[in-house]
């Protein structure tokens, strides 16, 4: 076919389809509910220079962190002199190379055309347990990376099409769910094979030159579209400060200044606290993911995600800080909690530039719950995250009980929890009195109660916003703060929102997640809404 713009368009959309198809293949063949049902994974195609060409992600925290991690990993591969052959696959989870936390395992494959590498297919998936101190591998009290699970520096999992079973069993035997690890890794391998096959047939049909020129034009196109969107904002700066909470550590501050000039944006995190001996450090990749998430939200989310989108943005996160820590500081919750706070922070800073697009702060936590132990001679582990209240917008109340910003994974049906784990869900509903007051109220959080049915069960909760509530906007009130309650022997007490406990049968832990901030003065709330508030009881009380 003649006419380059058309061929470029077809190759460009084929790259997107290809990454999506890899995602479906990974999901279909994965074993663990975490990938299969909650879709905690992401697939990508890179060019030979390690630039992102297309990505299909289902949760935003892989946005930006995956391409950053792949680039770093490919640099490592080259530096260490690892030669890549047809059919090879490299595996990595060291967050300081791969970009998120140890649970996320990345697999990269070279794609050959003739004798040279012309592209890479890659994917990343969250493994529900990769060893470490606690089931789920996100210990609340970690002081170094080694407590968070097995660390994998780039190594070949597949050699010229043959899976290295030594490595596979080394990894699986370090997990509390060895069988699931093997299944999920095989699914990751299958996804890359599919991606490679698709790219090979695309190259065969259109030739390398058309492929490369289409890739180049796709990058330029995304850059141009992103710049066009940015150019619409006023030339201005916005600034925001927020905090992270850690028992026994005060004043962990996050600070950002965002500056828009012409069609570029600078994001400067100077003033952010130093890294801490706690799992809330977010590696640089995670910091980028919040940046690209917010950018995507305030521009056009349909712009094809590739390296071109990154060009108009400069990020400065000083090394050795909470948002760009150094090995071996622990990072497991940086991925979930710090990234959530970073999104809050950026949205608040961008409010000065695009006030009509930005809501008040949401509940601001993924409210991770990890439970596990030994039952019937087998180790088991259960992991899920819990929804919060969304922030109110100018013109609309926040949504009650929904995942916001950096995550969007499904809950686990209470009826299945009861059948498949030594647990029961004793209650699951909106948390009354938790939506921030305002002309428009914030969304209510949720209240979920876990009834433990076997002794010696390890329970970990990792949440935020216990001491500093989600902020309102324009005079709107704070959302209700996170509370975690333990009922033991009929007595209920507050427990920290970041902790690991050993529980016995009959204990009930209730996680009450934070509500969203309100928008505008409560005094201006209209009568019909006030009546509904009285009826539904979801708005914060005085």
């Amino acid at each position: 076919m003649k006419g380059n713009p058309i061929v470029s368009e077809i190759i460009k959309s084929s790259l997107t389809f290809c990454s999506e198809e890899m995602g479906v293949a990974l999901r279909n063949s994965a074993y663990s509910p975490n990938i299969k049902d909650r879709m905690d994974h992401s697939c990508a195609i890179l060019d030979s220079g390690g630039r992102l060409l297309a990505q299909a992600e289902h949760i935003p925290v892989h946005l930006g962190s995956l391409p950053w991690g792949l680039k770093k990993t490919l640099e490592y591969v080259e530096r260490e002199g690892m030669e890549l052959f047809k059919g090879d696959m490299v595996i990595v989870n060291n967050p300081y190379l791969s970009g998120t936390h140890l649970n996320d395992i990345t697999v990269i494959s070279p794609v050959f055309h003739g004798n040279s590498i012309v592209a890479y297919s890659a994917n990343k998936a969250h493994h529900s347990d990769i060893g470490g101190k606690v089931p789920g591998s996100i210990p609340a009290d970690a002081t170094e990376l080694f407590q968070e699970g097995i660390i994998i520096d780039p190594v070949k999992l597949v050699n010229r099409g043959k899976i290295d079973n030594n490595i596979l069993s080394l990894l699986s035997s370090n997990s509390r769910d060895p069988y699931q690890r093997k299944g999920d890794l095989r699914a990751q391998i299958a996804a890359n094979i599919l991606g490679g096959r698709r790219l090979t047939s695309l190259l065969a049909e259109y030739g390398l030159r058309s492929f490369e020129s289409a890739a180049e034009s796709a990058l330029d196109y995304s850059e141009k579209m992103t710049r066009l969107e940015i150019a619409r904002f006023p030339d201005k700066s916005g600034e925001a400060t927020d905090v992270m909470e850690m028992p026994g550590m005060d004043g962990i501050v996050m600070h950002v200044v965002v500056t828009k000039k012409n069609d570029s944006i600078t994001i400067d995190y100077s003033g952010t606290s130093s890294q801490v001996r706690a799992p809330i450090n977010g590696v640089y990749g995670v910091t980028l993911s919040a940046v690209y998430y917010v950018l995507k939200c305030i521009t056009d989310p349909d712009i094809m995600m590739n390296d071109g989108c990154f060009r108009p943005v400069t990020v400065n996160a000083p090394s050795g800080t909470l948002l760009n820590p150094t090995f071996p500081y622990p990072v497991s919750a940086g991925n979930t909690e710090t990234s959530m706070r970073n999104a809050d922070l950026l949205l608040r800073a961008f409010y000065a530039l695009v006030p009509d697009r930005i809501p008040a702060s949401c509940g601001g936590s993924m409210n991770n719950v990890m439970i596990g132990g030994l039952a019937g001679g087998r180790t088991w582990s259960f992991y899920e995250t819990n929804a919060v209240g969304a922030g109110a917008l100018n013109g609309r109340d926040g949504i009650d009980g929904i995942h916001c910003n950096m995550t969007n994974t499904l809950n686990t049906p209470a009826e299945l929890v009861e059948v498949y784990y030594p647990l029961a869900i004793a209650g699951y509903q909106f948390r009354e009195g938790s939506g921030g007051k305002g002309r428009w109220r914030g969304g209510a959080g949720v209240e979920r109660s876990y009834l433990i049915k076997s002794d010696d069960t390890l329970f970990t909760v990792m949440a935020e916003r216990e001491f500093h509530g989600p902020l309102g906007l324009e005079g709107g009130g704070e959302g209700g703060r996170t509370e975690v309650l333990l009922n033991h022997n009929g007595r209920t007490q507050r427990i920290p929102s970041k902790c690991t406990l050993s529980l016995s049968a009959g204990d009930i832990v209730t996680v009450r997640t934070a509500g969203g901030g309100g928008f505008g003065p409560y005094a201006e709330r209209d009568r019909a809404s006030l009546e509904k508030d009285t009826r539904d009881r979801l708005v914060a009380r005085d």
Binding site: G3, I6, E9, E21, P301, I358, G401, E418, F430, D536
Partner: protein, 697 residues
């Protein structure tokens, strides 16, 4: 007057009416603009058919009343939900997911039942079916008073774990029935399966639609009775089966996706006739294209769908609508149709759709005021469509207007040749449509090269060959009237009913005779329903399946249950070993692995009762020689293909005879569609008038 089966399919813009005479095998059709009250459309259609000499014998109807009520959120009755204490908001929290990742202004669909109409009852049933806390009459009485005060019109009861034991729901139902005069429905009767949100949502949607369906179908019934006497009326279900009016009123969730199913039913019938068991169905109309899948003569179902939900590039978005668990024919859809507009975006890329020129103003060549080039205009410029008119001359076309639009809107801005721009628009659209075909085949574990493509809808046959080529499909069926093919599915359906029993036991905990015991109970219910409808027991056949998963998994596969194993007091038993190995095999096919050593859990046993209804039968047409009659060859013209322009023969489909063979490059024109036969393909007219295309070499 000829006694006719009449099918009426009400769409957004047009109502399609097809009529078939069981004795003469004649069929006729007409298209009317849809009227605001659907029952008026039906009556108008029936009266027109009557005046054309077609006496209504059986009416088949696909309705959009249920789906429209959900989409527009208007006319909703007030539903009260009675649920377990502590779980009041399950219906609204859903799966806690937002339907769009990057939209800060995203909205959740407004709940079927708002919070103040959700009432919590202190009760509890365990997952093992034990009643831990029974329902208290006192509390139900006070809730009944509140429900009355709130002005509710229908009540839905959904308790936690009710799939394992219906007792608490039924007790509450009995009490409420005694206290209030309004319909009371139980989740465990409507959808007796685990997962509290999905069951509650299904039951709530059913409760909401009940008054709506009963009003519409009741009106329709009496209008038809008054005019034509008490003829049978069947309503098309989402699973491609037909339901009685009473059945559809009782379970309106069964008819939500009433419309799209009929194209696949038609394909299934066509495939049976031709002995083709593996088909990818492709339906392309004016605004959308849809792909579906038939494997080994069985339609691929999905057991849950998002009613009134949104889709994104062919896939349904979880959380965008109201989940309903009822088998439906899972089609992948994309917004590419003849009217889809080609445009250049701010970044300089050519895009096709999602905006469509629709039927008004329509493509530029229609001359009805359209100014934006569409896929139809690209087909015009490439010589693929008749250059003068459509609908056998009744609709004149302006090819120069198409050219001018493509030239000025696409070719000039990109410094391309006009023909290249037109072929490019088609290529981009084909690329999008190939994707939905990949979604229903490759992504579900099927190799498209093992399938035939059946293409219909006004625009389907024009794009079929190039699509087949890109998926490696070697054979295509173009049915005789592609534009009416979907509507014909209405008069090809069987009466179907679904019955389910929740099990939640591993295959170690249940044996073949116990499984058969579950089925016996379901069969008794099915027989008694059939007899109540006036059918003979002998006319009822059953399809038995099991929903199976590995223990610990949250997703299940549907596996056919075969007789075998030990005989028991229920007669023949069930081959559980076969069931397990079938499940492992299917798991391998769909998910790429199986775990034969893992315990296998039976979630539910499902029985579908099937009763054959009078249906359309196609008859053989007159056969001719292998070369087409010269009269059938109407002209030759240049057609632009991806590689170059070729002089192509043009045939009139109406004049072709069985046995005629057409070598590509060629175009076959007919009243309601146009078929493109590229140079590497040849088409043969089979005994029933289908155009069967095969790839050469």
């Amino acid at each position: 007057m000829a006694a006719s089966l009449i099918g009426i399919d009400i769409g957004g813009t047009f109502t399609d009416i097809v009529s078939y005479d069981e004795k003469t095998h004649d069929f006729s059709y007409l298209k009317l603009p849809s009227s605001p009250r659907p029952e008026d459309g039906v009556m108008q259609g029936l009266k027109s058919m009557k005046s054309a000499g077609k006496q209504l014998h059986v009416l088949f109807h696909s309705t959009t009343v249920a789906t429209n009520a959900l989409l527009t959120r208007t006319g909703w009755p007030r539903v009260a939900l009675v649920t377990t204490e502590g779980f009041r908001d399950v219906l609204e929290i859903g799966r806690q997911k937002r339907p769009e990742l990057y939209n800060l202004k995203v909205e959740r669909p407004s709940p079927i039942v708002p919070r103040h109409l959700r009432f919590a009852v202190r009760e509890r049933t365990g997952s093992d079916g034990s009643v831990e806390i029974p329902v208290s009459r006192e509390q139900i009485e006070s809730i009944a008073a509140e429900i009355k005060k709130a002005g509710a019109e229908v009540i839905c009861i959904s308790f936690l774990n009710s799939y394992s034991n219906q007792r608490n729901e039924h007790e509450a139902q009995g009490m409420l029935n005694g206290l209030l005069d309004m319909p009371v429905m139980c989740s465990s009767d409507i959808d007796p399966l685990p997962k509290e949100f999905e069951r509650t949502s299904t039951a709530a949607v059913n409760s909401l639609l009940y008054p709506i369906a009963s009003a519409y179908l009741g009106r329709l019934r009496s209008l038809v009775d008054d005019e034509f006497g008490h003829v049978p009326i069947y309503i098309m279900q989402s699973d491609g089966g037909a339901n009685t009016i009473a059945g559809a009123i009782e379970k309106p969730i069964s008819v939500i996706e009433s419309g799209p199913a009929s194209g696949v039913v038609s394909s299934l019938q066509a495939g049976r006739l031709l002995g083709r068991e593996n088909l990818i169905t492709f339906d392309m109309g004016g605004t959308t294209a849809k792909a579906g899948m038939i494997q080994n003569g069985i339609v691929e179902y999905s057991h849950e769908f998002e009613a009134a939900g949104k889709t994104h590039s062919g896939r349904s978005i979880k959380g965008s609508g109201y989940p309903v668990r009822f088998p439906f024919i899972d089609l992948a859809e994309t917004s590419s149709g003849g009217g889809s507009i080609a445009w250049i975006d701010a970044g300089g890329a050519v895009r096709v759709g999602p905006v469509s020129a629709g039927s008004i103003p329509g493509p530029v060549c229609y001359g009805k005021g359209g100014t934006e080039p569409t896929i139809t205009d690209a087909n015009m410029v490439t010589g693929r469509l008749n250059q003068k008119s459509l609908l056998s001359g009744s609709m004149p076309l302006d090819r120069y207007a198409s050219s001018a639009a493509i030239r000025s809107k696409i070719a000039l801005p990109l410094s391309m040749e006009e023909g290249d721009a037109a072929i490019g628009i088609i290529a981009i659209a084909n690329n999008q449509m190939a994707k939905i075909m990949r979604i229903v085949s490759i992504e579900r574990g099927y190799d498209p090269r093992r399938f035939d493509l059946i293409a219909f809808g006004g625009a389907g046959p024009l794009h079929a060959a190039e699509l087949a080529q890109s998926l490696g499909i070697g054979s295509i069926i173009i049915p005789p009237s592609p534009g009416l093919f979907s509507a014909l599915g209405l008069i090809s359906a069987d009466l179907k009913r679904e019955y389910k029993a929740s099990v939640m036991k591993t295959t170690d905990e249940i044996d073949g005779s116990e499984i058969m015991g579950y089925f016996s109970i379901l069969e008794r219910r099915a027989y008694s329903d059939a007899v109540a409808d006036g059918w003979d027991k002998a006319g009822v056949s059953f399809i038995r399946t099991a929903s199976v998963q590995y223990s610990n998994q949250g997703w299940e596969l549907t596996i056919p249950v075969r007789p075998g194993g030990k005989r028991s007091r229920h007669g023949h038993g069930v081959d559980t070993t076969g069931l397990i190995s079938d499940f492992n095999r299917k798991h391998m096919q769909v998910y790429g692995y199986s775990s034969p050593s893992d315990p296998v859990n039976i979630v539910s046993l499902n029985l579908t009762s099937v009763i054959s209804l009078p249906k359309m039968r196609r008859v053989k047409m007159r056969s001719g020689s292998s070369s087409a009659n010269t009269r059938a060859r109407t002209e030759e013209r240049n057609v632009i293909f991806a590689d170059r322009e070729r002089l192509s023969q043009v045939y009139s489909r109406e004049l072709l005879q069985s046995g005629n063979v057409i070598q590509g490059p060629a175009v076959v024109e007919q009243y309601d569609s146009t078929t493109l036969v590229p140079s590497s393909w040849k088409a043969r007219v089979d005994g029933y008038g289908d155009l069967v295309m095969v790839r050469r070499g």
